[in-house]
């Protein structure tokens, strides 16, 4: 602190001091992000009908492209509002993975690892909560709103790192309201204490603290049930105009809740939008899906910026894979893990940047192509910009040490 003031005081004397001051400013811009919002596009959106249109080419079908706020970058026509915030986004158009099955690919993109029969890897939010603990929170720090079929998990870190699942955003999250009046709840808890005393007799004194965590967890649950932080789940108190901006959809409301939760100190919120598995009628389905995604995603970026939360929050909009350039006989597109798109924003990610390109004729990208980014690389880069040492190894229950992620940091994606 003293040093900083000293330099500030000397700034007018030498160009060197000026330069040092700038360096400091730059360093503070690099303060690691501390939270993540994952917009999960379950089913695997088509890159061609979202962030990587090849308008006019055979593979596009009749999908048109629109301009974005960044010169030379185009989106498919269904995303006009997101196009206006492209200057805040980092767009990767050259994602590759080896997983073409929904469940395996979801696991892959959420954890950064391919499925392994010997252990379950933690999702990005679980890693974040584990590496950046915070004792002040009454509510869970890892949350999945509208959880899909395979919500984020704690894996080998333990089920206490699983995402807390929230099924609606109209008021209080599920199961956090007692079914009875406080006085009667006290009665119930007194009765429970009686039964617990009976069980604890003739057992280890530290059984609850070290093994079952049963009563310790009940205390935490009760603390959560009466916490003021719960209001972050409730979007009904937000201004009507703000709510309208996100779109009148479950997904839109959940995105607004995600911002409130991040603002309250939650580390990671996952919001799922189902319905991207368009093996039939790909184009029509994408029109309706985009209509839900577009206002919500754009409003999320604008609102995070307005609340000065964008620099400390990494936003990821991704599905488990993309869809085939070829259109099948049912007017659908099938699974395509070799060249799909992922949009990122905030944290240390470069704003208005596009990385990689797919082939206009629809050829596969290979993992070792120059611009290809593997799923593990994205995880490593995200962890890096969260200030997490991705190479750190944790001991897993099967006694095999495991790095937090095993990709490389893609420097060109970062500021």
């Amino acid at each position: 602190m003293l040093q900083a003031t000293g330099l500030g005081g000397l700034a007018w004397l030498t160009p060197m001091a000026h330069w040092l001051g700038r360096a400091q400013e730059k360093a503070s811009a690099h303060t690691p992000a501390k939270s993540v919002i994952m917009l999960w596009m379950a089913g695997g959106p088509s890159q061609l009908e979202t962030f990587d249109p090849h308008a006019g080419k055979t593979i596009a079908g009749d999908t048109r492209a629109i301009n974005t706020s960044v010169k030379g970058v185009q989106f498919a026509h269904g995303l006009p509002q997101v196009a206006e915030v492209m200057h805040e986004l980092t767009l990767v158009r050259s994602m590759v993975s080896k997983e073409g099955d929904h469940e395996r690919a979801t696991y892959n993109v959420k954890t950064g690892y391919r499925p392994d029969p010997t252990l379950i890897h933690p999702s990005i939010g679980a890693v974040l909560c584990h590496e950046l603990p915070d004792a002040e929170m009454d509510i869970p720090r890892h949350i999945s709103i509208l959880p899909g079929q395979w919500p984020a998990r704690g894996g080998y870190l333990g089920s206490q790192y699983d995402a807390f699942k929230v099924y609606n955003t109209n008021g209080r999250a599920g199961n956090i309201t007692a079914r009875v009046q406080p006085k009667r709840l006290d009665n119930r808890l007194a009765a429970l204490k009686q039964v617990e005393q009976s069980f604890a007799r003739a057992r280890r004194a530290d059984l609850d603290a070290k093994t079952t965590l049963h009563n310790a967890t009940i205390q935490k649950a009760l603390r959560m049930m009466s916490s003021e932080q719960l209001s972050a789940f409730d979007i009904t108190q937000a201004p009507a105009k703000t709510r309208a901006d996100f779109g009148d959809t479950q997904f839109g409301r959940s995105c607004l809740a995600a911002i409130q939760l991040i603002g309250a100190g939650v580390r990671c919120v996952e919001v799922t939008l189902n319905g991207w598995d368009t093996h039939a009628n790909n184009h029509e389905s994408h029109v309706s899906q985009n209509a839900i995604l577009d206002p919500a995603f754009a409003a999320l970026i604008r609102e995070l910026r307005a609340r000065k939360l964008l620099d400390q929050t990494i936003v990821i909009c991704a599905g488990e894979f993309g869809r085939t350039p070829e259109i099948n006989p049912a007017s659908g597109r099938d699974h395509w893990p070799t060249g799909f798109s992922m949009a990122l924003a905030g944290g240390g990610f470069r704003a208005g940047h596009v990385h990689g390109a797919t082939d206009p004729t629809g050829a596969k990208l290979e993992a070792n192509d120059k611009d290809s980014i593997r799923v593990a690389d994205i995880h490593t880069t995200i962890q890096h910009s969260l200030g997490i040492n991705h190479a750190k190894e944790l001991m897993t229950p099967i006694l095999r040490p495991m790095a937090l992620s095993d990709g490389r940091v893609i420097k060109t994606l970062l500021k």
Partner: protein, 554 residues
């Protein structure tokens, strides 16, 4: 409005309502009437009274006794019968005993109760269904698997049929390894088709995944760690051991008529090799047990299940032990050394149980009976008054029964069962069963399944506690409802408050209340206050269901 056109006239609706109500009352009455008429199982003492059965159990007991002596531990005392049958029901059916079953058990002679209970459970389809699901996790995992060519449900139900018939376990495993044909008509084929990766260019089942499943699930050997390279840090296996085993599945291929032996031999490119080469079919140990002739998968099946391939028997003993204790004898459940060493000896009981399993032709029900009869299984998880509580060392050496957290389906099953006075099994009304499976599915999703990672002990979580304290399943099952819920029926039918509290404890915790608990709840029921008796009874249920005791096996 279109709905008005199809709505029946009011009198018809009223009639319908009356019929439904009458049917409900009928169900209550018939349930109440039959409450003491549970069908008796075909229980034959010959299952467990033959001298050789007793001898096996004695030998296992001796090994444990000497282990405890060596560790300087005095074991816990024998648990009471109700505690033991609760363990067996949770391990074998995934739920707790019903009040009616407890009454039937208590009518049996004391020294026969545990084995009588097993006779009862082996006749109950819930047992084979549940065991099949638990074994299937090791065989095919919990994933939905490849679209169209994999039917997990059909596979599990086939496995349940096999267990119900008590088909020798080596025969079951052989069927899996050698399965041919279509996944629909020959359900065992799903063991093979689950490994098909529909997005890889290679068609047909994945030899590598199959080799990993076979070694882990059937032999308790983790050889797949050397899949990619030799481990130079001292692993006993070489990379070629793994791929030579995988090669037995090389010819298994996907044809129009399902899985057939028509494929090309398995090829693999080791490092330093320029092109993939055909890999010979060689087993990683005890090569003398491998038949020289036959189709590759048949030869492999004969080798895996050979009576001298002790790894097979040990792996099965370890898994069955884990299902019954909530924790395997050797951890992790699928990694047992092929030989013991002075520094790393086998745990007590393992070799004797493996011998008994082999000699008795891989009879799973017998294995379960033997384990249930051992003194280790019979131990209490706590100490009697006046003794120091069991330590972690007691747990470690099986000198007290280890505590393990119930799996989500066990918790759900127990909540639903506790709300019914009779067992909810295959004999129950289909609506009860259907309702159970729907409620159970929703509950499990929220409680959090831990997937294949079955025997890893961890503490409870906040969402679990919230779900139990405030969730709808518990709320629905404890609220005042004379038709659906045992809580109300106990209150309405028990002759006095002492019996109310006792029956409630038996239905929820499978035990009677302690003197203090009895006093506490009797006082609470009789006291005048702001709650009526029905509410108090619901609160008693709530407290018992929310206890550590309910959520843990002990």
């Amino acid at each position: 409005m279109p709905s008005e056109k199809i709505a029946p006239p009011l009198w018809q609706r009223n009639l319908l309502f009356a019929v439904v109500c009458l049917a409900g009352v009928g169900a209550v009455v018939s349930n109440l009437l039959k409450s003491n008429t549970m069908a008796a199982p075909k229980h034959q003492a010959s299952h467990y009274e033959k001298p050789v059965f007793r001898t096996t159990v004695d030998w296992v007991d001796e090994e444990f006794a000497s282990e405890w002596k060596k560790a300087g531990l005095e074991p816990a005392e024998r648990a009471d019968d109700l505690t033991l049958i609760r363990r067996l029901s949770l391990g074998l059916t995934g739920t707790i005993p019903s009040l009616q079953e407890i009454r039937a058990l208590e009518a049996q002679p004391e020294d026969e109760r545990v084995q009588w209970w097993l006779s009862h459970l082996f006749e109950d389809r819930r047992t084979s269904d549940y065991l099949a699901e638990r074994f299937a996790r090791a065989y095919v995992g919990v994933e939905n698997g490849p679209f169209l060519i994999y039917r997990r449900r059909r596979f599990v139900s086939w496995l349940a049929d096999e267990f119900e018939a008590n088909r020798p376990y080596d025969k079951i495993v052989s069927s899996l390894i050698t399965a041919e044909g279509l996944w629909t008509t020959n359900p065992e084929v799903n063991f093979v088709t689950v490994t098909v990766d529909q997005n890889e260019d290679k068609k047909g089942p994945d030899e590598v995944k199959l080799a990993a499943r076979v070694t882990r699930a059937f032999l308790g050997v983790r050889i797949d760690c050397v899949q990619c390279h030799d481990d130079h840090l001292g692993d006993e296996w070489l990379q070629k051991d793994f791929h030579q085993l995988a090669s037995f599945f090389g010819k298994a291929d996907m044809a129009i008529s399902g899985i057939r032996e028509t494929g090309k031999p398995y090829e693999f490119k080791y490092r330093r090799q320029r092109v993939p080469l055909e890999v010979p079919t060689i087993v990683p140990f005890q090569p003398e047990l491998l038949p020289e002739r036959g189709r590759p998968r048949q030869r492999l099946a004969r080798w895996v299940t050979h009576s001298e391939n002790r790894a097979f028997a040990r792996a099965t003993v370890n898994r069955v032990w884990a299902l019954m204790f909530g924790r395997p004898l050797v951890e992790p459940v699928d990694e047992i050394p092929l030989e013991e060493t002075p520094e790393n000896p086998y745990p007590p009981g393992l070799e004797i149980l493996a011998d008994d399993f082999i000699i008795h032709k891989f009879n799973l029900q017998r294995l379960i009976r033997v384990i249930a009869a051992t003194s280790a299984f019979g131990l209490d998880s706590k100490m009697p008054a006046g003794r120091t509580p069991p330590t972690l060392e007691h747990d470690q050496h099986w000198a007290a029964f280890p505590l393990s957290r119930l799996r989500p389906e066990q918790v759900a099953g127990s909540i639903i069962q506790s709300a019914s006075l009779t067992a909810i099994n295959a004999d129950s009304h289909i609506l009860f069963q259907l309702n159970r499976s729907i409620q159970q599915g929703e509950f499990i999703k929220r409680y959090g399944d831990i997937g294949e990672d079955e025997f890893y002990i961890q503490g409870g979580t906040i969402p679990q506690r919230l779900l139990m304290m405030n969730g709808s399943l518990v709320h629905e099952r404890i609220k005042d409802d004379l038709v659906a819920n045992a809580a109300s029926r106990i209150l309405a039918t028990a002759p006095n408050d002492t019996k109310v509290v006792e029956a409630t404890y038996l239905a929820v915790l499978s035990r009677r209340p302690s003197a203090e608990e009895g006093d506490y709840f009797l006082h609470s029921l009789s006291q005048k206050g702001f709650l009526d008796r029905k509410a108090k009874q619901a609160d008693l249920y709530w407290a018992l269901i929310n206890s550590t005791e309910f959520s843990w096996n002990h």
